[in-house]
């Protein structure tokens, strides 16, 4: 194998007129193939993999337990209360859909922009997207309460002669997220077919050969095939780009089209998309750092890749910070009393702790990425990416819960104000467990797949 290690060559600098190397320490195609295939061809994964997979699996079992408890008991176990009908479930849904966006951004938008460095991380970022969207899909599914009636979400002829109501953003969500999942899966699989063919041709055992042969669909690297393949890939990228922007826009419509102060703002679609990319890139860094260490991919996922991703985190972090500021400005500038109250209450009301966690994680922390020392330091970027993940989860929580908890449009709020009681979402332990469980669900699935970059 290569004798040059990533840390010996600094490819993070930019020399005018000279391209920085994207792959380090490799002299021919065969070495690159070897490095990529090695994690899949290892007889046993590294010890750390077992530890991480074990922890993830335990949390997934916990998720299975609390989801059953929820289904058999009811959505009240989340501490949902009137008027806070959406809390953990929709927070997690929005958070996980957002995580997925980075994968599509890397695979589609960076492809259209001819960002060649994407190839080092795109496949595993796409895999992250798929698992993230699966996690996202779980929450509306269990949020409907009577999960056995979840098929009501789809326009299926039924005994009541009723159809879903297509003027509702919640139904747009069903179509947006299911399309997003399908297209992400296609994008990932199309990219994977030639790689599976490589695995098939290298496979030693009969079973591996058959399995890889089946899933590589008989790919033989024909240039007549490559021609259509490249067209199709370009088309998929061109289709996924507006799709990924539409998905989080539609998710934000769930809120923005309502009349609720704190939700009813036109900034929501771009603000949600920027936040999605922000959190997604942080998640890619969180996953890429251990993956490249454990599977010896440092020469392919180089420091330059991580540096680039940290720059994206910085930019989108600033956009998110701008959106927070602009929301406050518009609340003041609108002169709307309820709107003003909603935002003052968001920052200084009963959920101010969540608000300030969000601001410090999402606005202040990423500013450290202005410094190249921070952008190229593995431990620091890992810690900062965790902060961003936490911050973005709280952003969704803050938007949903603070706006609902002080909903002054509903008559029961007027009553509760008379009584001097402000309704709050009471985060029971089950809610927190489900949030963690979904995270480790993704992590477990990912550690099984994290090596196919």
């Amino acid at each position: 194998m290569s004798t040059i290690h990533a840390h010996e060559i600094d490819n993070t600098g930019d020399v005018p007129g000279k391209r920085a190397p994207l792959v380090l320490g490799h002299t021919d195609f065969h070495q690159v193939t070897n490095t990529i295939c090695r994690p899949n061809e290892m007889r046993k994964p590294p010890m750390a993999w077992y530890v991480m997979f074990g922890i993830s699996m335990m949390l997934v079992m916990n998720l299975g337990f609390v989801v059953h408890y929820l289904i058999f008991t009811g959505v009240g176990v989340w501490g949902l209360n009137n008027p806070v009908m959406w809390a953990f479930d929709i927070t997690n849904f929005v958070f996980w859909v957002g995580i997925g966006h980075a994968g599509t951004l890397i695979s589609a938008i960076l492809f259209l922009f001819r960002q060649k460095w994407r190839t080092g991380i795109n496949r595993f970022a796409e895999a992250m997207t798929i698992f993230a969207v699966i996690c996202a899909g779980l929450f509306p599914g269990i949020h409907v309460g009577r999960v056995w009636l979840a098929y009501w979400l789809f326009p299926i002829p039924n005994q009541m002669g009723m159809w879903p109501q297509f003027r509702s953003p919640l139904l747009w969500d069903v179509f947006a997220v299911s399309t997003y999942f399908t297209v992400s899966l296609l994008f990932w699989y199309v990219g994977l077919v030639p790689d599976l063919a490589t695995m098939r041709d290298r496979a030693k055992g009969k079973v591996q050969q058959m399995a890889y042969g089946l899933f590589s669909l008989g790919w033989r690297g024909s240039n007549r095939h490559w021609h259509r393949y490249e067209r199709a890939y370009l088309l998929l990228a061109a289709l996924s780009t507006p799709l990924v922007l539409s998905v989080h826009s539609v998710v934000s419509f769930d809120f923005a089209t309502s009349q609720l102060p704190g939700w009813h703002t036109t900034i929501f679609p771009p603000y949600f998309v920027a936040g999605a990319i922000f959190s997604g890139f942080a998640m890619v860094v969180t996953l890429a750092v251990p993956a490249r260490e454990l599977f010896g991919l440092k020469n392919l996922i180089t420091l330059r890749h991580l540096d680039n991703m940290n720059k994206v985190i910085l930019v989108t972090g600033c956009m998110v910070g701008y959106a927070y500021g602009m929301e406050f400005f518009i609340a003041w500038y609108s002169g709307a009393l309820y709107e003003k109250f909603a935002f003052m209450n968001r920052a200084f009301g009963q959920y101010s702790w969540a608000y300030w966690i969000m601001v410090s994680c999402n606005v202040i922390t990423p500013q450290l990425f202005w410094f190249k020392k921070v952008r190229t330091s593995i431990p620091l970027m890992f810690i900062l990416s965790l902060f961003v993940n936490v911050g973005m989860w709280f952003e969704r929580f803050v938007i949903i819960v603070t706006s609902l908890a002080n909903d002054r449009f509903l008559p029961m709020i007027a009553i509760s104000e008379v009584k001097g009681v402000m309704p709050q979402a009471d985060p029971h332990w089950e809610g927190w467990h489900q949030s963690h469980g979904a995270g480790s669900n993704a992590a477990a699935a990912h550690s099984a797949n994290g090596d196919n970059s």
Binding site: D28, R167, D201, R202, L217, R220, G221, N223, W226
Partner: protein, 204 residues
């Protein structure tokens, strides 16, 4: 695999004589295969192909491949998706027609916030999503179908040397059914293009 082949391409038959599938020539780098493809194209072969581990820039032109009509088909599929989206929403939410779609179904004109029955703006997101869904599914499906895939087997897979086509070597294959295919002449053609090795592949 009833036969073994030698480096010079002379098949040594062990049992019943197997039919020749074609010849495979190996090249060591992308520049070589582009130059070779131009020569093979100019010799007028029809049933031939290049096999590379990754798409090689300029090889389409060197082989004289015509631009695929895939984008046109995908556009048609997208338009069909858009129409389906509109039709679905108009039928289910705006009118009370009864039609037969595997079962008899009737629409239900919802009256929501006094909005008109034909509230097209509210129908745009689902139309858009179905446009993308239909386009993407047909894009991938048609791409594989037009490529003649999935295919469980191909005679080329019997050639051990050919395994490197997905790793670090570049191949040209010329099929025996090509009208201009003559074993010795074709082999000489491939050699003259700078092939590192030429091998015969038989149908198994």
């Amino acid at each position: 695999m009833t036969t073994l082949t030698t480096q010079t391409g002379i098949a040594t038959t062990t049992a019943a004589p197997a039919r020749l599938y074609g010849l495979v020539a190996e090249f060591e780098n992308p520049a070589q295969i582009v130059a070779a493809a131009e020569k093979i194209r100019d010799k007028g072969y029809r049933y031939w192909d290049c096999h590379t581990p990754f798409p090689v820039h300029g090889l389409d032109k060197a082989m004289g491949i015509q631009r695929t009509i895939l984008p046109v088909l995908v556009f048609v599929a997208g338009a069909a998706g858009c129409t389906t989206g509109l039709g679905l929403q108009l039928f289910t939410n705006s009118f009370n027609f009864t039609i037969w779609a595997l079962v008899w179904v009737t629409g239900y004109p919802f009256l929501i916030s006094g909005k008109p029955a034909l509230s097209i703006p509210a129908f745009v997101p689902v139309m858009f999503e179905l446009t993308i869904l239909f386009s993407a599914l047909s894009c991938v499906g048609l791409m594989f179908l037009m490529n003649g895939l999935p295919r469980l087997h191909n005679p080329l897979f019997t050639c051990d040397r050919f395994r490197r086509a997905s790793d670090d070597r570049f191949f040209i294959s010329i099929e025996a059914r090509d009208p201009r295919f003559y074993r010795s002449k074709t082999e000489a053609d491939l050699k003259s293009c700078g092939a590192a090795a030429v091998e015969a592949v038989v149908e198994d």
